[in-house]
């Protein structure tokens, strides 16, 4: 099985232009004959839905939330990158491309990343045209700030609510199409399976979360924009409802899952405070522009931060990475925090925390300037912890935040299953082994506004519209399978709650497949996860019935999939015997404790093929060819 990424030939900078010309078009009058299903209404899903409906396609859209506006893209705080070079500080498409490839530790597909950098500028233009209130200078022009992994200021932002404002822009464009009748929107509806007819994705099985009705929808193409799988770890910065079900179901129907072990642990989150904790809250990376990270040089120092004199503080990022300092990329900053805590320098009651201190910035710029930049983040921190970050440093600790892995897609964002397109965090393509800050928003909107509208047309031009009908046996079989699974979940009538199982899985994954992984631990996890799964199906308690709004049942279905997916995550981590980006294998590190890649053996994408319930999945490779950048050891020193 060869995985063909279908990267167009020719010079890097001309690939996308050339490809756009070579793709087939559909006559405007014929576009309305094609129906496209889009699952998920975050940045990728909403922007794709709006753009495709504007082109004239018939769109059906689904989300589990009560409104498309609540997709978790809304929680992104810091910003969105673009190569506008407005600050005149040396940015360019090439530099954004290079920073992203380097930030991803040379594990992303070159041509995809270049295209991402190319369309980045058009995204900002589009958002401004929609009325997104980006931060501005007194001159009236747009303001930029810097973010981790870059030495230029290329990040556009709307206070600490950039994701919200971009999503609302896309949601509004999308709502306009709903109002015009071009998009049929199904909120509170969860996708539970993919329907494949003659090898092509032709529809989905959904459950109406209010009535419990399980039904099928057919289309000419299916787009999954269903986000990442960070909630496999139970505690993450994801919304409670975020799940892997749609992507995992597609995997079980034949779509390959790529690089699941590339998970991003974000360095600046509010530390865990107790067992009851239900989620973790991110403090935007933008805070690292003005905040300085430190711990006490003394182990187990219980003095309050104000009583620790300057010379007894270790600003460890500034010490270790003098040129990037507090703006070192996320994987490196997280691992450094873990190291100092493991050595006993951690702060706070649990010792699992480091200080993020604004005292210097407040002295330099004044409290008002800091309030204007980060006011809502400081407010959020104070509400959660009861501590005032204007007066004492924040306590932060890394937490699971983003997943670079996802369903495998080619240059057209189509999976190996024809007709199945995957966009945003749900695909694997652009961030390699580590995503830089402010790049997720860029990728979600690039996929939805400027890539899918072209590439889907090319696919559709080769298929007959309306060929799939929901009365086909493939649809009926898929539906019956879901009905049976739901009955099974309700029929176990055990003693443990869904959350108890989820928490157990989370502990295993965080312990053995978190910031540092080794063979021994991963093998333990691979024994433990099937045990938890087996117990789940014998002893889970899901009350109520299917024919009603039933939040326990929703959760149970998602956790059942996490319990299978967690194994794939650990297996991928075990097989990738190198360290790269967010994947740190203890056995593979330099003398200074930095990630040590093995380009000879692992400069490839691992794409997993499902082989049935009792068989091991098969690992396929897509070799990564770097024609324009030289593989180098990432250095931020």
């Amino acid at each position: 099985m060869t995985l063909d990424p279908k990267v167009p030939d020719g010079p890097l900078a001309e690939k996308w232009d050339k490809h756009r010309f070579q793709m087939k078009l559909i006559n405007p009058a014929n576009k309305r004959k094609y129906k496209i299903i889009i699952v998920g209404t975050g940045l990728a899903g909403a922007s794709a839905g709006a753009s495709l409906a504007e082109l004239g396609y018939e769109v059906e859209s689904f989300c589990y939330q009560d409104s498309p506006r609540r997709a978790h893209s809304i929680a992104a705080q810091g910003g969105i990158n673009a190569a506008k070079n407005y600050p005149n500080d040396g940015d360019s498409i090439w530099r954004l491309f290079y920073d992203t490839v380097k930030g991803g530790d040379f594990r992303a597909r070159e041509a995809n990343v270049y295209r991402l950098a190319q369309v980045s500028n058009a995204i900002i233009d589009q958002c401004v045209a929609q009325g997104v209130p980006f931060a501005r200078e007194y001159s009236g022009y747009l303001d930029n700030r810097s973010f981790g992994g870059a030495q230029v200021s290329r990040t556009f932002y709307a206070r600490g609510q950039t994701g919200q404002q971009l999503l609302l822009g896309a949601y509004q464009a999308f709502s306009r199409q709903i109002g015009l009748g071009k998009v049929k929107m199904y909120p509170r509806t969860e996708m539970l399976d993919l329907v494949v007819v003659d090898g092509h994705a032709k529809g989905i099985v959904v459950r109406d979360m209010v009535t419990g009705q399980i039904r099928t929808h057919s289309a000419d193409a299916v787009v999954l924009a269903t986000g990442g799988y960070g909630n496999a770890f139970y505690l993450s910065t994801n919304a409670k409802g975020c799940n892997v079900t749609a992507a995992y179901r597609a995997y079980k129907k034949g779509a390959f899952f790529a690089n699941p072990c590339y998970t991003q642990i974000h360095p600046t989150c509010i530390p865990v405070s107790g067992d009851y904790q239900s989620k973790l809250t991110l403090m935007s990376e933008s805070l690292r522009n003005d905040g300085r990270i430190w711990v006490s040089k003394k182990k187990g120092d219980k003095r309050p931060p104000a009583q620790i004199p300057e010379e007894e503080r270790d600003y460890y990022l500034e010490r270790k990475y003098p040129s990037f300092g507090n703006l070192a990329p996320r994987d490196i900053s997280s691992r450094s925090a873990k190291e100092v805590c493991d050595e006993g320098h951690g702060v706070g009651e649990s010792g699992l925390g480091v200080y993020l201190d604004f005292a210097d910035a407040i002295k330099r710029l004044g409290e008002n300037a800091i309030r204007e930049k980060y006011g809502n983040l400081f407010h959020m921190y104070e509400k959660i912890t009861g501590e005032n970050p204007y007066q004492m440093p924040m306590r932060i600790y890394p937490a699971v935040h983003y997943t670079m892995g996802g369903l495998w897609v080619d240059y057209n964002l189509m999976s190996n299953l024809p007709g199945l397109f995957v966009a945003g965090e749900a695909n694997f393509s652009d961030h390699g082994a580590n995503r830089l800050g402010a790049s997720a928003l860029m990728q979600g909107l690039a996929d939805g506004y400027f890539v899918l509208p072209y590439t889907i047309g090319d696919y559709l031009s080769k298929v007959k519209p309306g060929s799939a009908k929901t009365d086909m046996p493939e649809f009926q079989d898929a539906k019956e399978e879901i009905v049976a699974k739901t009955k099974r979940l309700l029929g176990v009538k055990g003693k443990k709650t869904v959350d108890e199982f989820h928490r157990e899985l989370g502990h295993v994954l965080w312990g053995y497949c978190g910031m540092a992984r080794d063979e021994e631990g991963l093998k333990k996890a691979l024994v433990r996860i099937p045990e938890i799964r087996e117990e789940f199906w014998k002893n889970v308690c899901v009350l109520g019935s299917n024919e009603e709004l039933n939040q326990s049942l929703e959760k149970a279905g998602r956790v059942a999939d996490f319990l299978e997916f967690g194994e794939l995550l650990c297996l991928d981590a075990l097989e990738r015997r190198e360290s790269c980006g967010g994947h740190f294998r203890v056995e593979h590190q330099t003398e200074e404790g930095e990630a040590k890649r093995d380009d000879r053996k692992f400069c490839h994408v691992a794409a997993w093929e499902y082989k049935g319930p009792n068989a091991s999945p098969e690992r396929h490779k897509e070799e990564l060819k770097y024609e324009n950048v030289t593989l180098a050891t990432r250095s931020y020193k």
């Binding site: 404002q165 464009a173 109002g179 009350l543």
Partner: protein, 247 residues
């Protein structure tokens, strides 16, 4: 701490519903309000009773899903937060807490504490946008926008669409929600072109969806987790007058 909860339980839309009393035991003051409900729900499941259904998702105050009336106040009595950001340190041992869903004709209860807020989506669909199709727009810096206008637009755009304004209003009016969107887009040059049609369409849909009128109680501003100012209602009224006069 130990608390007594009086919670609205309603099986489905047509069910009459009633307040039910629960004991919340050994609650840690660092918990969020929703984590306290999680603990109560875990206990209920263990006892074989159906857990309390409530909307929630991001649990960091931005998605707008949570919608709890806590002791008669949307999102509880702490200023400028959603229910998910309310922490138990604001309660004390022995407190009795009443938890109800949003109450408004335009927001019918679906189950327990979950209401249907799709009327908000329909208002946006009727005009809460700039009709800029993808592609073909000018450079982002082509039109400078005065910082005060841009900042004011951002203040209005902070709305999370939770519906606390409606729940707090004695008339169940959606004027703050609609006013915030109308004002945000009218303040920006990109939105000015469609300002008249927008305000007329959005106000018409708001009325059709059975929201009440504003009688200047300003309970909406007090309840808004994003502290959006009622000045945007005034601004919407001016926009509306301007548009209606031209018709």
């Amino acid at each position: 701490m130990n608390l007594t909860l009086k919670v609205w339980r309603q099986k489905h839309k047509e069910d009459q519903g009633l307040m039910v009393t629960y004991e919340a035991k050994d609650i840690n003051s660092h918990m969020s309000f929703l984590e306290m409900l999680d603990v109560v729900n875990e206990d209920l499941i263990k006892k074989g009773e159906e857990p309390i259904a409530f909307d929630h998702d991001c649990r960091e105050g931005i998605c707008g899903a949570c919608s709890l009336m806590i002791n008669g106040v949307p999102h509880g009595s702490e200023k400028g937060i959603t229910a998910c950001q309310l922490h138990m340190r604001h309660f004390k041992d022995g407190d009795v807490i009443y938890i109800e869903p949003w109450r408004a004709r335009a927001f019918p209860v679906i189950k327990d504490l979950i209401v249907d807020r799709s009327a908000f989506d329909r208002i946006i669909q009727s005009g809460g946008f700039v009709s800029a199709t993808t592609g073909g727009v000018p450079d982002a810096n082509a039109i400078p926008i005065a910082k005060p206008d841009s900042d004011s637009a951002m203040d209005a755009a902070a709305c999370i669409g939770c519906g606390a304004c409606v729940a707090a209003c004695p008339n169940a009016s959606a004027m703050l929600f609609v006013g915030a969107k109308v004002s945000q887009l009218a303040l920006l040059p990109q939105g000015k072109i469609e300002r008249e049609q927008r305000v007329l369409n959005m106000v018409r849909t708001m009325d059709e969806e059975n929201f009440g009128n504003c009688t200047n109680h300003f309970e909406c501003e007090a309840a808004c987790p994003k502290e959006i100012s009622v000045q945007y209602i005034a601004q919407m009224n001016r926009e509306y007058l301007r548009a209606a006069a031209k018709q």
